[in-house]
Amino acid sequence: MNPSSASLREQFPLLAAAPELHYLDSAATAQIHRVALDAVLFHETTSRANVMRGAYRLAEAADLAYESARQSAARFLNANSADEIVFTSGATASLNLVAHAFGATLRAGDRVLISVAEHHSNLVPWQMLRDRCGIELALIPVSADGRLDLTNLAELMGGRCRLVAVTQCSNVTGARTDVAAIVAAARKAGAKVLLDGAQGAQHGPQDVRAMGIDFYAFSGHKCFGPGGVGVLWGRAEALAQMPPFLGGGGMIAEVTAAASTWAAPPQRFEAGTPPIAQVVGLAAAVEWMMTLEWAAIREREDALCKQLIEGLARIPGLRLLGPQRGKRAPIVSFDIPGLHPHDICQVLDTRNLALRGGHHCAQPLLAALGAESCTRASIALYNDEADIEALLAGLGHVLRELA
């Protein structure tokens, strides 16, 4: 039987210790599960040593933990092989890695297609690549409710389109991308597909093979694991074609004073000492996630999202930024004319409601939606109806307080 949100909440030490807290900012950072904390502590107190360097038993234990974590991440994503898993410091680092290493295989005039809905992490690295190498950077527009507008997708993939790099799910509107349509068009155009899964992986294990994509990026801290760790999955043949991003220890085949040759992936992309304990913690988190019945969890998250959207609709003047229904994640952003999101969030905090206000590192999207900033509530598996009721009551308090 799937655990209730109440019993799930008990598994998160911070939430268990703060029963009054209504944590609705999991799209920024999810709370860490006890198994991830325990795994970090256990690793650091029983197996702490550097990886890929030592022949003593402690180092071998560290190697085993680290490479087992690679297996866990591969299972979580249904990858063909653990060799397709590159550990990074987070989704941003994963995306920058692709922008540099895959970007190094591009020529001036090659096109990369992203979207207006991207988090700055999947926008700025491509602008930087454009400015370095002269690639063309094209953007898929968004509809009025923040969905990717795929009407002119074939034209946008014209020219020498080599990569489509888009979000799996907007961190502002919650709109889910029609990945199948993107992949089908990209295949016709001969382009690879990168999916920014920063907001996707939190809502259940992924199947990168079924999606037919080439790269997938996500962060540990949004998947109930530690911060400072993330994953880049790349199709083996795609990774094999890419030169390294960072140079250093661990990523070489041979080094002479004159030149170096590179290790095979994934080590080619893991220069220096990786965040070993965090990787182990992330593995524990995704192993735990893989034990859950996600259909039931998604149903509950969707019901809370619906409850919230219906409640928000009763607030005069409030504008929802994002789809009312349909394919969406439980990330709900809104604008109340005359009230600044920072003021809203500050007053909500007095009622133990943790929400985020601002541009959410998605300024082009907000500009397209005609907003400068907004307030965002993001729902995860430990949230329940009481959180949504508290938020709706809290917004009533905000209106009275700030009017």
Partner: protein, 166 residues
């Protein structure tokens, strides 16, 4: 009443609502635009200098109540000040917010921001208009003391001398 409730006391709301100095100057000699990229607060500050002193000030402020109240306060009070005086009160306000100094004696209205001491993430909201004014004064050719705020420490800036003070 909790501290954040008291953060939004009547004085802040009144100053934000009054929006003293809101608008643009036709005779501006310097202007600066400052953004707080974290929260989207945005201040465009214009000044016209006469003999090194602020003859006129105007601003367009999009932001939270704290930022708007601070801009409005400057709109009401800054005329007649020179750059050194603006820099001095800005520094005193910064210190007050950090809890290291009392309310500046010459600016008792700044008492409305004392509850923001407890919220470090909001200090920049209050300071942004002051920083924009200093940048606008600099753009107008005023001599701003060394060590004074220069945009770049977290804020993004665009300052320009307009007609220039001759």
């Amino acid at each position: 009443m909790s501290d954040a409730d008291s953060l939004y006391q009547a004085a802040i709301k009144q100053f934000a609502q009054a929006a003293h100095g809101h608008g643009q100057l036709e005779s501006a000699t310097g202007e600066a635009k400052l953004d707080n990229p974290l929260c989207g607060d945005r201040v465009r500050m214009q000044v016209a200098l006469d003999g090194g002193r602020i003859a006129a000030i105007a601003h367009e402020t999009k932001g939270c109540l704290l930022c708007r109240a601070a801009s409005s306060l400057l709109g009401a009070r800054a005329a007649g000040m020179d750059a050194a005086a603006v820099e001095a009160v800005s520094g005193e306000l910064d210190a007050m917010l950090k809890g290291a100094a009392p309310i500046p004696a010459a600016w008792p209205e700044l008492a409305m921001f004392v509850p923001a001491r407890a919220h470090a993430s909001r200090h920049r909201c209050v300071l942004l208009p002051f920083r924009a004014l200093i940048d606008a004064l600099r753009a107008a050719g005023a001599k701003v003391p060394e060590g004074t705020h220069r945009a770049g420490a977290g804020d993004t800036a665009n300052a320009a001398g307009l007609h220039g003070e001759t």
